[in-house]
Amino acid sequence: MKNIYKIQLIGVGGQGTIKASTIIGEAAMKKGLNVVMSEVHGMAQRGGTVITEFKIGDADSPLIEEGAADLMIAFEPSEALRAINKVNKNSFVIVNSSPIIPFTVSLGISEYPELSSIFEELKTKINHLIIIDAQKIAKEAGNIISENMVLLGAACATPGFPIRKELIIKSMKENLPPKSLEVNLRAFEEGFSQIGDN
């Protein structure tokens, strides 16, 4: 069996999941690793669930087998549960604690579970669970929009993550507009420092 590192990202349209994924993927390529990634485009541009998944190493398909993800970054709490089939109890799971409530809940045609019960369930299932208030940290760093970089920073600090911090930062510089780079780097560093000994 070959050594392949599998990352699943899940969020809601507009949260910057694809940008965070591209930064990781390009960093992996620059390190000389093979990387394949799958993105979602099209109808769900805003408001829908957005999934990217990728494999770093000697793989052909970007789609991750159920239960096989090494790392999952969930940009929204309920979305972490939506993709729970992709992880196992030993996966690292990073979850943003700020919910995004869709209009279907206001219309009464779907339900959003209590946040506490979402976290409770994740805790019983996942050994390496990291819950982060990325929105708050991003706001403090200078812009609420940078929550994707907070989560990326945290991901980069998890044990087993195959790419060094310096390479990710280099990739950020190549993929983000210069105007917002400073705030994004701050958000990334703050996210990175959230990870202790898990």
Binding site: M1, K2, V12, T22, G25, E26, M29, N34, V35, V36, M37, S38, E39, V40, H41, G42, M43, A44, Q45, R46, G47, G48, T49, F54, D58, D60, S61, P62, L63, I64, E65, E66, G67, A68, S78, L81, R82, I84, N85, V87, N88, K89, I101, P102, F103, T104, V105, S106, L107, I109, S110, E111, Y112, P113, S117, E121, K125, I144, E174, N175
Partner: protein, 623 residues
């Protein structure tokens, strides 16, 4: 990576490219001169990249009014000796089919590639058709890439093949290939010819029966020769993992899943990967079948290669087991993934495959359907129309809403529920005509600006000529919205980014002879409602054009200008009537757990239409 690098990055460099971006680079490395398309997911990003780089690349690019026109533009360029590239989503090839079939007959001089992006599992489409069957129907050579590197390389190969046999070439991708990102090693970009020259030869270019019968014969001869190329092509390769009990024949995305399952489980099998798969390389496949005990065919959507394999085995009287879709080893519908392929392979290999524990949750998860964006002008159109219907005391359950392909079809959902029938691009009018004749029900057809130009105009002319009583609402948001914001004939910019004449929808409607034609701003709810009330009482064809730019355009404009207006609910004035939540339903407006109505400032687009909806003036600009 910046988009420009797809053009500027040097030979030997590596880029992390989307399959669609790799198609652009491949076209450039192949010396393409002319590129045309009608946008359609999952192929749209190819056009988005050309729109940004065509000028610098010295390539002509256009968003044609529909796929048939796009194909014709590329066909003429290829007939003039230029290399051309036309791309579309799978159902786009249906629109182009008439000219597609004939272009294969007439052939080409310069290389021509037609890319069809199929959509297994129908992420953004109305059907799951497999255009490898279209290749067989037309008699056109077919290439099936498995990853972005292959997309790029096959573009170049495709141009050469196309010129060698003077025939267009079809490339079939799927959503997972078009939207897959991977490391791509680059070759040099070659500048294509600037202009071609069309040499007259009616026997080759005019498909009157007398000439077509000869073309048909010539096509069959060409296909015979191309088959020999496919038989010996290095694009059709064998991966030998050391074992002959099972041979797997596969292509495209399915190959990736097969490889990952084989590697992970260390399976001793033999794999034949077909990237040059039509004409089907009979000899190469026959050799492969003879070298293994049993065969598994893994392919996405229809059992196309499986049928070809069975035919070969019948022809040569070979008695071996063929596993695939027809015997239920693998599913016939929807896209594959490693788990589905693994489940199928577990039935046919003598080994227990890795089977992981799968977690699930019992908590209810919120549904997140695609939704009209905050600030979307279509919301105003539907809200005002609903009000006009109510004021006129028309029975809504008797009204037939004939919708079309575009964001506005999202009015299918609650609370609007204004889409009863929708089948294909431009169909809202033809379908509307049929309902108007077949029933006494009121008919309202909806169509977008781009879809109107694409295939709606013929339907309008039909409605007027046949005296149908229809209200046609053209939701003109000044852009092709659902595919990400491409230009169309109503936009003052063309595919090269140059200024262009705006074709007037109102002028076309008036020219058709429609009885009532009016243009209105849908953000002005009162005026829109008034216009709809008049239109609904019209006895013939009434056309109402609700014209206001897509929120993606106004948002970008506001960002540029530094305009950042947000609205908020004044809780003292709010009586919780919930009209803004339950009837207007902007995704930015929500009810908090305490029952209060609030506006999410992150989502609010500042359009202010909700202010007009509120009976108590409780919505105001946030200070």
């Amino acid at each position: 990576m910046k988009v420009k690098e797809i053009l500027t990055e040097k030979e030997g460099g590596k880029l992390f490219l989307l399959g669609n971006e790799a198609a652009v680079r491949g076209a450039l490395e192949g010396g393409v001169s002319l590129v045309s398309t009608y946008p359609g997911t999952p192929s749209s990003e190819i056009g988005d990249v050309f729109y940004k780089i065509a000028k610098d690349a010295g390539v002509y690019f256009e968003f044609s009014s529909n796929e048939k026109v796009a194909l014709e533009v590329s066909a003429a360029a290829a007939a003039s000796g230029l290399r051309s590239f036309v791309f579309m989503k799978h159902v786009g090839l249906n629109v182009a089919a008439d000219s597609f079939m004939s272009t294969v007959y007439t052939g080409v001089k310069g290389g021509m590639i037609i890319l069809s992006a199929d959509d297994p599992s129908m992420y953004s489409s109305q059907n799951e058709q497999d255009n490898r069957i279209m290749a067989r129907l037309a008699g056109i050579p077919l290439l099936e890439p498995s990853n972005p590197q292959e997309v790029k390389d096959l573009m170049k190969f495709g141009f050469e093949l196309s010129e060698k046999y003077e025939i267009p070439v079809l490339m079939r991708t799927t959503t997972r290939i078009s939207h897959m990102r991977g490391v791509v090693e680059l070759s040099p970009v070659i500048k294509g010819k600037e202009k071609g020259y069309f040499e007259k030869n009616p026997e080759q270019h005019v498909v009157v029966p007398a000439y077509a019968v000869k073309m048909r014969k010539k096509l069959m001869e060409k296909l015979g020769q191309i088959k020999e190329d496919a038989n010996h092509s290095s694009l059709n390769k064998i991966v030998d993992k050391g074992g002959k009990s099972l041979g797997i024949i596969t292509s495209g995305g399915a190959y990736n899943y097969v490889m990952d399952v084989v590697s992970e489980n260390d399976l001793k099998v033999k794999i034949l990967k077909l990237a040059f798969s039509h004409p089907f390389p009979e000899e190469a496949v026959l050799d492969f079948i003879n070298s293994v005990d049993n065969v598994l065919v893994a392919e996405e959507v229809e059992p196309v290669m499986e049928n070809e394999v069975l035919a070969i085995m019948g022809k040569y009287n070979i008695n071996k087991k063929v596993f695939g879709k027809l015997d239920g080893t693998l599913p016939r519908i929807y896209e594959y993934n490693p788990d589905i392929v693994s489940k199928g392979m577990a039935k046919v290999v003598n080994k227990v495959l890795i089977d992981r524990e799968i977690m699930s949750t019992n908590l209810p998860l919120p549904v997140r359907p695609p939704v009209l964006c905050p600030g979307c002008p279509h919301r105003g159109t539907y809200f005002a129309l609903k009000k006009a219907i109510k004021k006129l005391k028309l029975k809504e359950e008797d009204i037939i809403y004939s919708s079309d392909i575009g964001c506005y079809a999202l009015a299918l959902q609650s609370p609007y529920k204004m889409a009863d029938y929708c089948i294909s691009m431009g169909s809202s009018l033809g379908i509307g005509c049929g309902f108007a004749k077949a029933t006494d029900q009121k008919v309202i057809s909806f169509i977008g600006d781009s879809t109107f130009f694409h295939a709606g105009m013929a339907g309008l002319v039909n409605a007027v000529h046949n005296k149908d009583k229809i209200l046609l609402v053209v939701l003109d948001n000044r852009i092709t919205g659902m595919t990400g914001g491409q230009t169309n004939p109503g936009t003052p910019v063309d595919g090269m980014g140059n200024p262009a004449p705006e074709v007037s929808i109102e002028g076309i409607a008036q020219g058709s002879g429609a009885e009532f034609v009016r243009t209105v701003n849908p953000l002005d709810l009162k005026e829109t409602e008034k216009v709809f009330k008049e239109a609904l009482q019209c006895e013939g064809v009434a056309v109402v054009i609700t014209k206001y730019p897509c929120a993606m355009l106004t948002d970008a404009e506001n960002r540029k200008k530094g305009i950042n207006i947000k609205y908020t609910v004044n809780q003292e004035n709010c009586i919780k009537c919930l009209i803004c939540v339950k009837d207007f339903t902007c995704p930015a407006i929500y009810i908090k757990k305490d029952g209060s109505v609030n506006i999410n400032p992150l989502l609010c687009d500042g359009c202010g239409v909700c202010v007009q909806v509120c009976p108590k003036n409780a919505i105001e600009v946030k200070k």
